[in-house]
């Protein structure tokens, strides 16, 4: 059985993660003997196999249930009562959150945002997506699970995922004819492809906003002294479909309805930089899209748009492989993503060198967001001027936004860059909100007096997440939730992020629970600066944004939680005795300590 799985993935060491995902599905965990066997079969150190199993949340050393339920734990799910639903399911099924029931029938977990914020509360069950959960469904679900009913027999509409495109623009309107953009690219030299993309002003849609043409050109030209486009050098095209930023789901929608545009953009890139191999790194949460994506790739091969001698051009060979993630936000960071593609834990690399010169297997690699490739495809087909007709000089074109939270019409909005936030709020039916989280927790939290700020690289850059919060929401609770998200997702490689995000989590817990003092706010601010300044990658560098930005905008919301005394111990004396109480079976008054400030 193991051999079969290993063979299916080509038996390469780089397939380790893909193999382990299948092992997990088959055995509901990765047993130690299988780790040893895999190390032998793939000629890998056993420590690497164990490291991978323990790094990714969707892999486990101990067995999960026959029904493995994972509730999406994003703030927007919280607003819709997800925590309560999870607790009710646990209670009905007699299982503790995070554990597997003794009869192995079920396990229930919380998981980071599953990319369904516009139709939550959401959950995954054995990798399938459940949307719009409510109390009634939870009751029925508990029965189905207890009766061991096959997922195929559960009501179909529970699994329904809607695109909810509320506003379409350059990228979502109309259909790009299959191959149209590639045909144009074939008439051009690489240098002309770069200059067309360059002229369009296209910048990366994944958040950082790097100029796409520049990235492609660096990858093609290589380091100083190299021969541009040297055909003896293997280059790779990677599509980042990890979409882990809480509140974003626009890549899911692009991959559902415009996947051909994305494939086409990747192929244009391959043509330009001279790559033969492409990857789509699809987050594990979107596994349900895998089959339709594979069908889409097959269509392209049949039409001669992928494979050998594409569109009859001798020597233009390119194909795309899909790799799955397994529950790790950090794998959206491009160098961690490449590590993961190589079958390793997702630890970001040291830079320089950058992926454009030393990426997958140390070879020049372009990593772009899903939306960037979709845009590149249409720019190639319709021309740079078409793209330049929308947006601002700094930020041309449109941005696809994922809108969720307290508004009447959540979903996908493709807006021209340069639009004010207020415009979007009107469109989505958000009346007088308290604040908007632009670009997810690693982005910017803005309050009402900033709603005229514009979306674009010159003011409010965004990867696409827009979470709207009404006046009824507690801003400290929101910042707290985001802070815990980062602590939970820290890869653990560098000290300031690994330890610092957990310390920030403790501090905000203390404050939110009413035990904080003015001193704790000072402490939090200082710690935030250290984590931001010394962390290894973008995760740590932005992890304190939610706390600092909300503290800056809503200081009174923090202050009203503080105790007046200047010092409150961070150490809970009575709590520390809990283990001893359990061991001695005592619960009497003398077994407790009271602590006064």
């Amino acid at each position: 059985m193991l051999c079969e799985i290993v063979d299916r993935h080509g038996g390469q060491a780089t397939s380790l993660l893909q193999i382990l995902i299948d092992v997990q599905m088959r055995f509901r965990h990765v047993p130690p003997r299988i780790m040893t066997a895999l190390a032998g079969m793939l000629h890998l150190p056993r420590t690497q196999v164990e490291a991978v199993v323990e790094f990714y949340r969707f892999l486990s050393v101990t067995s999960v249930g026959r029904f493995d339920v994972r509730f999406s734990d994003s703030v927007t799910d919280h607003l819709l009562g997800s925590r309560d639903l999870a607790a009710r399911l646990c209670q009905r099924l007699g299982v503790k959150l995070g554990e597997t029931r003794v009869d192995d029938a079920v396990s229930i977990h919380l998981t980071s945002c599953t990319g369904l914020s516009d139709q939550g509360p959401a959950a995954l069950v054995n990798g399938h997506v459940l949307t719009r959960l409510d109390g009634d469904r939870i009751v029925q679900m508990a029965d189905f699970i207890d009766q061991g009913m096959d997922l195929d027999t559960w009501p179909k509409n529970w699994f329904k995922v809607e695109d909810q495109v509320q506003l379409a623009g350059l990228l979502l309107e109309g259909e790009l004819p299959l191959g149209a953009s590639l045909e144009r690219a074939l008439t051009l030299h690489p240098a002309d492809i770069f200059s067309e993309i360059d002229r369009s002003g296209l910048r990366g849609r994944g958040g950082a906003g790097f100029k796409t043409a520049a990235k492609w050109r660096f990858c093609y030209e290589g380091e100083e002294g190299a021969v541009p486009g040297d055909p003896t050098i293997a280059r790779y095209v990677v599509c980042n479909a990890d979409e882990g930023e809480p509140g974003t789901f626009k890549d899911r929608v692009l991959l559902s309805r415009n996947a051909q545009d994305v494939f086409e953009g990747m192929t244009v890139c391959a043509k330009a930089i001279g790559a033969q191999h492409g990857f789509i790194y699809l987050r594990g949460e979107y596994r349900y899209l895998l089959d339709s994506l594979l069908r889409g790739l097959k269509v392209r091969r049949l039409r001669g748009l992928l494979g050998r001698n594409i569109l009859g051009v001798e020597g233009f060979d390119f194909d795309i492989e899909i790799h799955l993630g397994a529950g790790a936000y950090i794998c959206g960071e491009e160098s961690a993503l490449i590590e993961s593609l190589e079958g390793k834990p997702g630890h970001p690399r040291n830079r320089p060198p950058y992926p454009v010169t030393h990426g997958y297997l140390g070879q020049p690699t372009v990593v772009n967001n899903v939306e960037t490739f979709a845009a590149a495809a249409r720019i190639m087909a319709y021309g740079a001027d078409w793209f330049l007709s929308v947006g601002t000089p700094e930020s041309s074109g449109t941005k696809i936004l994922s809108v969720s939270g307290d508004c009447e019409r959540p979903g996908i909005y493709e807006v021209p860059f340069g639009s004010p936030v207020s415009d979007l709020l009107r469109r989505c039916g958000a009346d007088d909100p308290m604040g908007v989280q632009v670009g997810g927790p690693s982005g910017t939290f803005i309050g009402p007096d900033e709603f005229e700020r514009i979306l674009g690289f010159e003011d409010l850059p965004t990867g696409g997440s827009m979470m709207v919060f009404s006046q009824a929401r507690d801003v400290v609770a929101i910042a707290r939730s985001f802070t815990h998200f980062f602590a939970h997702e820290s890869c653990g490689f560098c000290t300031p992020c690994r330890v610092g995000t957990s310390l920030l989590g403790q501090l905000i817990d203390k404050i939110a629970e009413g035990h904080g003092t003015p001193h704790d706010l000072i402490e939090m601010t200082q710690l935030a600066a250290i984590v931001k300044n010394t962390s290894h990658c973008g995760l740590g560098q932005t992890a304190a944004h939610p706390l600092m930005q909300t503290l800056e905008r809503f200081p009174e919301r923090y202050q009203e939680r503080l105790k007046t005394l200047f010092f409150e111990p961070g150490f809970d004396l009575d709590g520390a005795l809990e283990v001893s109480r359990q061991m001695t079976g005592r619960e009497d008054a003398h077994a407790h300590l009271t602590q006064s400030g």
């Binding site: 150190p45 490291a51 949340r57 939970h488 653990g492 560098c494 300031p496 690994r498 330890v499 290894h536």
Partner: protein, 237 residues
């Protein structure tokens, strides 16, 4: 050929273009605090103790290539405060009871803390439950003290060719693992003559039967402050 130069705290020094800032500094006799860096191994860049400011931006000296004209700040109040906090994070993350630790006085973490003038642990302790593995006849593992620097990982993989050690898990659950299904060190290929057995900067990998050969008070950092001792090591002594 023109000699390339950069400055550290205003002092000009020349460097070889293949060097990192850390290597250029060490060659010129300038100490930049560090724990995961060791001149014999590939730069790692995880502890962040070597954080410096290069042309106004924070960077890790052990991984950033030296470049012409860089203005590096190293021994500033701001940087040393930040390094102190990072050192304190390492202390509260594990279980470090120095008076009871057999390598007290040989320990780079402890000596670095002294060097920075650290007086307390500042943050609340996590008191994690960590493993002790005494299964091997010659080598002892006490993971209470592991700071996840991966020096043993690199030594075992790159020098001993055995990959006995690895880091598994994620975030605060990251932990050292050994290459054995049983999880016990005795079932791995490690030998006391391996480089990996001797590279640990703290008291997490210990050689048995050698504990008090040198009495406390006569140990390395009892006599040489970390600064001088580590410079010697980096310069190849």
């Amino acid at each position: 050929m023109d000699q390339k130069t950069l400055t550290i705290d205003g002092v000009e020094l020349s460097f070889d273009p293949r060097q990192t800032i850390m290597e250029a500094a060490a060659a010129a006799g300038v100490y930049i605090p560090h724990l995961c860096h060791h001149p014999d191994f590939k730069p790692h860049g995880s502890c962040k103790l070597c954080t410096v400011k290069v042309n106004g931006r924070f960077a890790s000296a052990c991984t950033l290539p030296a470049a012409e004209g860089q203005e590096v700040l190293n021994k500033t109040l701001e940087l040393n405060q930040l390094r102190t906090r990072i050192t304190q994070m390492l202390f509260v993350e594990g279980n470090h009871f120095c008076p009871g630790c057999e390598i007290s006085g040989h320990c780079k973490l402890q000596a670095t803390a002294y060097g920075l003038g650290m007086l307390d642990s500042h943050f609340p302790h996590f008191y994690p439950a960590r493993r002790v593995d005494a299964s091997h006849p010659d080598i002892m593992l006490d993971l209470d003290r592991c700071i996840l620097c991966e020096l043993c990982v690199r030594a075992s993989r790159d020098m001993d060719g055995k990959s006995v050690f690895g880091i598994a898990g994620r975030g605060m659950e990251s932990h050292l693992v050994v290459a054995a299904e049983s999880g016990a060190l005795v079932d791995t290929l490690i030998e006391v003559s391996d480089r990996a057995a001797h590279v640990c900067p703290v008291g997490a990998i210990l050689i048995k039967h050698t504990a008090y050969e040198k009495p406390i008070g006569q140990r390395r950092y009892d006599h040489h402050p970390i600064q001088a001792a580590l410079l010697q090591e980096d310069q190849g002594d």
